[in-house]
Amino acid sequence: MSVLVPTSLADALQALAEHPDATVLAGGTDLMVELNGGHRRATSVVVVNRVPELCTWRHDPITQTLRLGAGVTYGQIERDPIASLVPGLAEAARTVGSPQIRHAATIGGNVGTCSPAGDGLPVLSALNAEVELVSAEGIRSVPFASFMVGPKRTLREPGELITAITVPVVDGWQGYAKVGVRNAMVIATASASLVADARRGTVAIALGSVGPTILRCPEAEAYAMQHANFSERSLAADVVSHCCELVRLASRPIDDHRSTAAYRRHAVGVLAGRLLRRAFPND
C-alpha cells in the first residue's frame, strides 16, 4: 500500500516489478475520476508523470518519425513544435477535455486507458502508430491496431509500462473530426481521422466511438487510394460518396445514452466525406 513517485525510468520499472498489481497513474484524468467516484479503490499507485525519459519527444528527420514519450501531454501536442509535425493529432489534442485536462492528460495515458472514445486514438490508428512497452524483462513494440483489443482492454501486461508512441511524420494531409453535442469539453459521439500520405500514395481512415475498438476502414481506404490524385489533391465527388458509404458499413456502432447507432453510423460517413474533401479539395 503506497504511492510511489519514481523519477527515472529504471526506478519506475523497478516499482512496477515489485508491485505488479500497482495502478499506473500518468496524468490522472481517468484514474482519479474512478477514485473520486468510489468506483475503484487504490492499493498501490505508481505515478509516472515525473519520469524524465517519458516526458521527452524526438523528431528523427532521417526516418521521418516522431517519438512521443508516453508522458507528453495533449497540451504539448496541440501546440507547436509538435503540432506541425502531426497536425491531425494536434487537432485531436485540441478536443481532449478542457485546457486543464490537456495540461495533465498524457498520450500514454490515453493509449493505456484505450477507450473507444479516446480522442487521440483514431489518429494514432490512421498513422499506424507503434506502442512501445517496457518491463523489467525488456522492451517490445506493438502496432496500435493490435494493441487495443477491446473497450479499455489492451495487450499491456502487468509490470509493463507504456513508454512511448512512435508515429511517422507524413508528407500529406491529416486531420481529425469529432462529433459531440457541445462545442467543447465533450466525449466523442463519433469521430474520424484521415491520413493521406502523398509520398506513399496511401489513405488511412480510422473511426472512434463506433465500435469496441478504433476501427479502420480498409475498403474505403483502398477505394480512395485507387481513385485519388495526390499531386492535384483531387478526388471525384462520386468516389467520395462511395467512400462515405463504405465507411458507414465499416462502423459497428451501438445505441447508448449519448446517441443512437443509426446516428453514429450516419455521422462517421459525413465526417469521412468532409475529411476526404479537406484532404482532396478538388473534384
Binding site: 467516484g37 473530426a177 469529432k178 457541445r182 462545442n183 467543447a184 447508448d256 446517441s259 455521422a267 459525413v270
Partner: protein, 760 residues
Amino acid sequence: MTDTALPTDVRPGRLGHSTLRPDGVAKVQGTFQFSGDLTADGVLWGATLRSPHPYARILRIDVSGAWKINGVEAVITAADVPGVMTYGLIDQDQPVFASDVVRFVGEPIAAVAANHPDACRRALDAIVVEYEVLEPLTDPEKAVDGSFEPIHPLGNVFRQQRIVRGDQTIEGPIVVEGTYELGMQDQAFLGLEAALAVPDAGGTGVELHVATQWLHEDRKQIAACLGMADEKVRLVLGGVGGAFGAREDISLQVHTCLLALRTSRPVRMAYSRHESFLGHVHRHPCRIFMRHHADHDGRLRRVEARFVFDGGAYASTSSAVLVNGITHAQGPYKCENATVDGWAVRTNNLPCGAMRGFGVVQACFAHEAQMDKLAVAVGLDPLEVRLRNAMETGDRLITGQVVESVAPVQRLIRELAAMPLPGEPVGGHDRDPMRLPGGAGRTADVGNVRRGIGWAVSIKNLMYSEGFDDYSTARVRLADGVATVKFATAEVGQGFVTLAGQIARSVLGVDNVVLDQIDTQVGSAGSTSASRQTWMSGGAVDGACRLVRERMFERVALLHGVDPLGLVIEGTEVVDTVSGLRVEVSEASAGIEFDETFEHHHRPTEDLDEFGQGNCHTAFAFAAHRAVVDVDPELGLVKVVQVATVQDIGRALNPLSITGQIEGGIAQGVGLAVMEEIIQVNGHVKNASFTDYLLPTFLDMPDVVIGLVEEPEPQAPLGAKGVGEPPTVSSTPAVVAAIRDAIGKDLTRVPVRPTDIVFG
C-alpha cells in the same frame, strides 16, 4: 457583447446605480464561505444510502455491517426519525427515509456518520438491503388514464385542473396544432448540496447551516420531522452556490440534523455531483398538445391545450407548476376562449419541482411554436402575427383575471426587431473553426452551415399564486448614520445583498449599510424563487427603511421645530423643503437607534375554480427573444450565434445585476434548447454526471444583446419587476425557432438532439 446603457447620473450605491456586490471581493479571493466550506471541531461526515431501483419493495434492511467499519459513529434509518416521517412543500408525501417502498432511483434509505468520507462510503457499501423489484411506472400517460396501480397511498395524480372559458364551439377558420415535448432539465447549480448541523448541548435543539432558498420553510419541515418546536431549530444560510429552484425542497437537511443529534457532534454532509442529480427536484418533463383557432388575419379566437407534467415520485410543487403551465397557455396574447386540461402526475421517475420558469417554460415552448405555425398558415411574418395578438394592460387572461401589470408586449417586439443582428457571417471574419457548429471537433466547414433566425415572446407570473401569502420581512436599525439591515432572504447569487444596501442607502440617506447574518432570527422572507425577491424582500427592506426614516424625520422635526411632512432625504442629509434646514443623517441618528421591522405582503390572490377561473396570479412580466443560430443540418449540430432580448423590467434598480440575470437566464434557456436533459430509461438515470449532462460552456454561449423597457410597475414597491425567470422562458423557443428556420423541419421537442435535426 451586451451594450446595456448604464445610467451615469445616479449616486453610487443608490437605486439605479450598478453597485457592485458586497460579497464580490470575498468570492474572487476564495474566502467566501459556501455551505460546503463550513466545518467545526470534532466534525463528522454524513452520507446517504440510496435506492438503486426506481420501484421496489424493501424486504429487509441490515445495517450491522456498517457499524463494523472503522470510524463509523451513527447509522440511521426511518426507524430513527422521531417526528413526522414525511415532508414536502405542499403535500408531505416524501419519506425522510424509505422504509417499505422505494419510488425512484436515488431515494434515501439510510444515512451514516463517520470520521472520513471514505469511511462513510465503506459503511454505505456494508449496509444490506433486500428488495423485491417492481415494474416501475415511467409513462405519465398511464398515471393519467389510471391504468397503473397506485404507486403511493395518495395515488398517481397530483392534480388535474381544467380551464374552460368563453365560447367552446369556436372552430377555425384557421387551425394550427402540434404536440410538444420537453425533457427533464437539471438546475445544475455549481455549489453542491451541503450543510453543517451543530447540536445543542443535551440534544434539545440544533443549528443548521445550509444552502437553501427558503430558511423558514426548511425549518418548518425539519422541525416537524425532528419532532421539535420550530424555535429549537435554528437555520443559518450557508453560502449558496446557485439554486435555480433546486434548493426549494428539502434534500439533506433532515438527515444532517438527525445524524448530529444522534452523535451529539457536528456533522457535515456534502453531495457528490452524481448524488445531486438524484437528490434534488428537476424541471418537469412535459408533453403538451396545443391547437389554436384563428381568423384569417391571424387573430386568435380560441386556444385548446392538454398538458401532462411528469412530477416523478413525490409531489414537491408539481400542483403549482401545473397551474403555472396551464394558466400561461395563451402566452402574451389576447385570447377570449380557451379549453385547457392539465395533469401533474406521479411516476417512478426522478421527482420534479421548481426550476427557473416554473411550468411557464413548458407552456411557452408550445405556444411559441404554435405562433410560428400560425404565421405560416395565415401568411404573416412571425413578428406581425405576434404584434396583432399582443396582450395589453387590461386584457383578460384565460382564467378571467385582468392583467393589471404593465404589459408592453408590442413595444418589446418592436424594439427587439430593431436590435442589431450579428455583424459577422457564418464562421466569422477570422474563420476560426471554434465559431462553427461542432466547435473544437472541427466537424463543419463554412459551406456545410445554414443560418436561421427565430423569435419568441413570453409572459411570466411573478410571486406565488393561488391564495398563498408569500410575504417577506425585514428589520432595519439606524444609529449614528449606519443602517443595519436584517432579513432571511436567501442570497443564492442573484444579488439581493447588493440591492438591500442600495435600498437602505437611497431611503435613509446613508452611505454605510451593514447586512446582518441571514438566518431565522427574523421573520420569513419567503422563497428566493418566482422572480419575487426584488419585489417582496425589496418591498420589506424599503418598508422598514421608510418606517425608520419616518421616526428620524419626527425626531428632526421635534428638535428643529419644523413640520415632519416637509422633510426629504437629499444625498446624506435630511432636508426641510420649507425652511431649507439641512441635517446630516449621521447627526439626525446620533446617539439613538431607530429599529423597525416591516412585512411586505402582495395583494391577495385566489384559488382557481373548477373551470380554472380566478384571480390566481399577483403580477406579470414580459420578455421577447430573438435567436440567430448556425446549423450543420447533415450532422445536426448547432452553434447559437446571438440571442437578442428586450425585457419588461419596470425599473432598473441595478443595471449590472439585471444584465447578469438576463445573460445567465439565457444561458439556461440555450442549454435546454440544444443540450440539457437528464435521460432516464425505465426509471434508471443514464447521465447523472457533468460528463454526460452537458451544460453550455464559453464556446456554446452566444453573444447576448440586451434592451430594457422601463415602465415602472405601479403595484411594485420599487416600481421594479423581477427579472430572473423571463430570460429563461422565451430564449428556449427562440433558439428552436431559429433552428427550424435554418433547416425547415418541424422540431417539437427540446432539447433538440442531432438525431432530431438529421432524421426528424
